[in-house]
């Protein structure tokens, strides 16, 4: 342990020293350039490290993934689009695509947004706003694996007649119902997995939407109320349109998350009983079958699914910048 201290110290000091050195050297070179060239070169000098970082850690791996998806399981022979054919003809992948595109994008995004919006608006009007929002935000601090494990206890099932240890079934039986195997019954099990996601993410939407809500000018609201607008009209015609840009940003984040959904599914059902998602397919191809080609092909599929969302997000961002 102790003999590692120099290495740890070096790991802490060296990057900082390298950055400072970069700035000093870059500015020294810039000063040697003709006066007129400097403004054109300087932005690139400053953005350079960030570009290199993104290039090295995001773009290069993405390109490598695309390349690997055209090779075989052990990445030795070129196989063309065979991996894509195999992946797309796999019935498990069909279920995964359906679940990602339908269940997760529609219900996860929808529930989190509605939850976040309702809580933000209602909390805005109570005295214990801070406490209320903290409670909703609390699950964000829990890892998804832990959240999945906790909810597995809630959904757990014992045969009828045996004492129910799962919260939900204990309640069901208490009110005279039959215990339900929540996680193995399709299609509702998808919804129950999504509820775990919503529980964990509602706080995120609440906090951001609540901040945007505080940004709505009070004068506007008062003017509308003086003109005789009802509270629903104030919300629908003033608050909601002003919140819309924020809602869009939160929604795109959630859609991207919905496409990447993994932890909850892996921990709670491992994709069995029609709950498969693409990220879990990728994990299985990679770590169970150790098929690099197919795992990469699933990764590329996911990437192509996310690109439209990213483009949409960039467009909106640009429009907003233009207004400003």
């Amino acid at each position: 342990m102790i003999d590692r201290i120099p290495q740890v110290a070096a790991a802490l000091v060296l990057p900082v020293a390298a950055l400072v050195g970069y700035i000093v050297v870059a500015e020294w070179i810039l000063h040697r350039l003709p006066e007129r060239a400097r403004p054109r070169v300087r932005p690139w000098v400053w953005i350079g490290p960030a570009l290199a970082f993104v290039g090295f850690f995001l773009i290069a791996p993405a390109i490598e993934t695309i390349f690997l998806s055209l090779l075989d399981a052990t990445s030795t022979n070129f196989v063309g689009i065979d991996n894509y054919v195999a992946v797309l003809s796999d019935s498990n992948v069909h279920i995964a695509i359906r679940n990602n595109l339908f269940w997760w994008i529609v219900f996860f995004t929808g529930f989190v947004l509605i939850d976040g919006l309702v809580i933000a608006v209602l909390a805005d009007r109570v005295r214990y706003e801070g406490l209320a929002k903290s409670l909703i935000f609390l699950p964000q601090a829990i890892s998804f694996v832990a959240a999945g494990t906790i909810w597995k206890f809630i959904y757990s099932y014992q045969p009828p007649g045996v004492e129910q240890t799962g919260t939900l079934n204990a309640i069901t039986v208490f009110f005279g119902g039959e215990p339900q195997p929540w996680l193995t019954q399709a299609p509702t099990n998808n919804l129950l997995l999504i509820i775990v996601g919503v529980w964990a993410w509602a706080g995120f939407a609440t906090v951001i939407l609540s901040a945007a809500l505080k940004g709505v000018p009070v004068e506007l609201l008062e003017a509308a109320r003086l003109d005789g607008a009802s509270e629903t009209m104030v919300f629908r015609q003033i608050v909601f349109p002003l919140l819309l840009p924020t809602i869009t940003v939160v929604a795109t984040t959630l859609v991207i998350f919905a496409l990447k959904a993994f932890d909850v599914v892996y921990v709670m059902t491992n994709g069995n009983f029609d709950t498969e998602v693409l990220a879990n397919r990728m994990y299985k191809e990679m770590f169970t079958a150790r098929n690099y080609g197919r795992a990469s092909a699933v990764a590329v599929l996911l990437l192509t699914g996310i690109i439209p969302v990213l483009i949409f997000n960039l467009r909106r961002f640009r429009e907003q910048e233009a207004i400003r």
Binding site: Q158, G161, N272, Y283, F287, A289, A299
Partner: protein, 432 residues
């Protein structure tokens, strides 16, 4: 974006690896004894982890070597990532003989022929157990613990009270099951839930049936990938399995309970009063789960076992088993010492005495009760012995087998399409 979900487990493993590497053996610490540390990665958690730590405690005291144990239920993924990342543990439990041979062929495993006293091993271990851990004539792994597969657990008090006799043949077993079902209770308790490995308890059923119904040759061709899942022998085995799992009257709670009940809890209704079921098929280690969940029950009085009966008399006395295989990834003095220690009868007796484990070593006799020593005897003296087939299959085939158990239980009418999709995985996963 895509890389991030992809990289998360890898990153977690990597960080863990760094932490462990940071505490690696320090050459300065060598004193009178060996000193230093040895890292061990294996699949045990909970009570099993406690038992393993108890097993290595005398080793730590004797050599002054600290054993850094790390347990994971996802051993296959974690171990292969760490081996590929050039950061393997010193010593690791291997997920199965299939992965062991992949690691051995890639040159990752150290030949134990120079580490262990092979003459003593040949003396103490059944040949079948040593052979299973050899690749190209080299001893690259060694079993440190074994389990008997195929015992059917029952409650002797209840059997006597109801006048049920222990069945001698498969037909008698089915007749007994039907009698119990017709008397208004349920014969079987079954649970297939086991987190990411859900479905595996069903593979043990299938293996027992294939071996007893079609014999060891078909069994070997089956796990070796040369016998199709859609072949008449394997299909017949599924249908035989179906006489129990596809009949809602046969199993407590029917398919819902089989799919949703954790395997470790599923046998507990044997011990409620009145019992909710009468038989439970599970490997020998389940006794540990029984006694932990029902502290008042006594081995031999409240639970005992009979072996899954013979189906075809041609293959009478066939038994399946499994075990925990250990391999060495780094040749350090500490790792050598630990491997030697773990294969001694004294070390294995520690876990055996604590319950839930059998020893592949014939010299170990310290079984806590008659049930455990009977299990060990059934294992080491079987007429036809075969290792757990699913553990011998490639990992992708094994995982598909698990899923097929769940799919079949959920809807037995889909058997043909389930077997066809297993054939597809078979054609694919044996290629490498």
């Amino acid at each position: 974006m895509v890389r991030s979900t992809f990289a998360r487990p890898v990153a977690a493993v990597f960080v863990l690896g760094l932490l462990i590497a940071a505490c690696g053996p320090s050459p300065r610490a060598v004193q009178g004894s060996l000193g230093g540390t040895v890292s061990v990665l294996a699949t045990w958690g909970g009570d099993e982890q406690t038992s393993f730590l108890a097993m290595v405690k005398p080793f730590e005291d004797q050599y002054g070597v600290k054993v850094q144990y790390e347990g994971t239920r996802d051993l296959n993924a974690i171990l292969s990532t760490r081996v590929q990342g050039g950061n393997p543990p010193d010593v690791a439990g291997l997920p199965g003989p299939g992965q062991m041979s992949q690691f051995a062929k890639a040159g990752k495993l150290i030949d134990l022929g120079n580490v262990l006293d092979m003459n003593a091993m040949k003396d103490e271990y059944p040949e079948s157990f040593l052979k299973l851990a050899q690749v190209d004539g080299k001893q690259v792994g060694i079993f440190i613990k074994a389990a008997l597969k195929g015992p059917i657990w029952y409650n002797p008090k209840q059997f006597t009270a109801k006048g049920y006799a222990v069945p001698k043949t498969w037909d008698e077993l089915i007749t007994l099951s039907k009698n119990i079902a017709n008397s208004g209770t349920t014969p079987w308790c079954i649970g297939f839930e086991s987190a990411a490995a859900s479905g595996w308890p069903g593979t043990d059923w299938l293996e027992d049936i294939v071996l007893r119904q079609s014999g060891p040759d078909v069994y070997d061709q089956w796990w070796q990938g040369t016998k199709k899942w859609t072949s008449p022998e394997i299909k017949k085995a599924w249908e035989t399995f179906g006489t129990i799992v596809a009949d809602p009257k046969m199993v407590l709670g029917g398919k819902n309970a089989m799919l949703a009940t954790a395997f470790g809890d599923s046998g507990n209704p044997l011990f409620s009063n009145p019992p909710k079921c009468f038989m439970h098929h599970q490997a020998s280690f389940i006794t540990d789960f029984f006694t932990k969940a029902n502290p008042s029950i006594k081995s031999g009085e409240d639970f005992a076992f009979f072996m899954t009966p013979d189906i075809d008399t041609k293959y009478a006395g066939a038994v399946t088993g499994a075990g925990d295989l250990f391999g060495m990834f780094k040749d350090t003095p500490q790792a050598r010492a630990l491997m030697n220690y773990l294969t001694t009868p004294a070390a294995q007796a520690i876990w055996v005495k604590r319950g839930g484990a059998l020893s592949p070593d014939k010299k170990v006799t310290e079984y806590p009760d008659k049930i455990a020593s009977d299990s060990a005897k059934a294992l080491t003296s079987a007429k036809i012995f075969r290792f757990d087939a699913s553990d011998l299959m490639p990992e992708a085939m094994n995982a598909a087998f698990w899923k097929a158990i769940l799919d079949y239980t959920n809807d037995p009418t889909k058997l043909d399409s389930i077997l066809a999709s297993l054939d597809k995985v078979q054609a694919d996963s044996y290629k490498k």
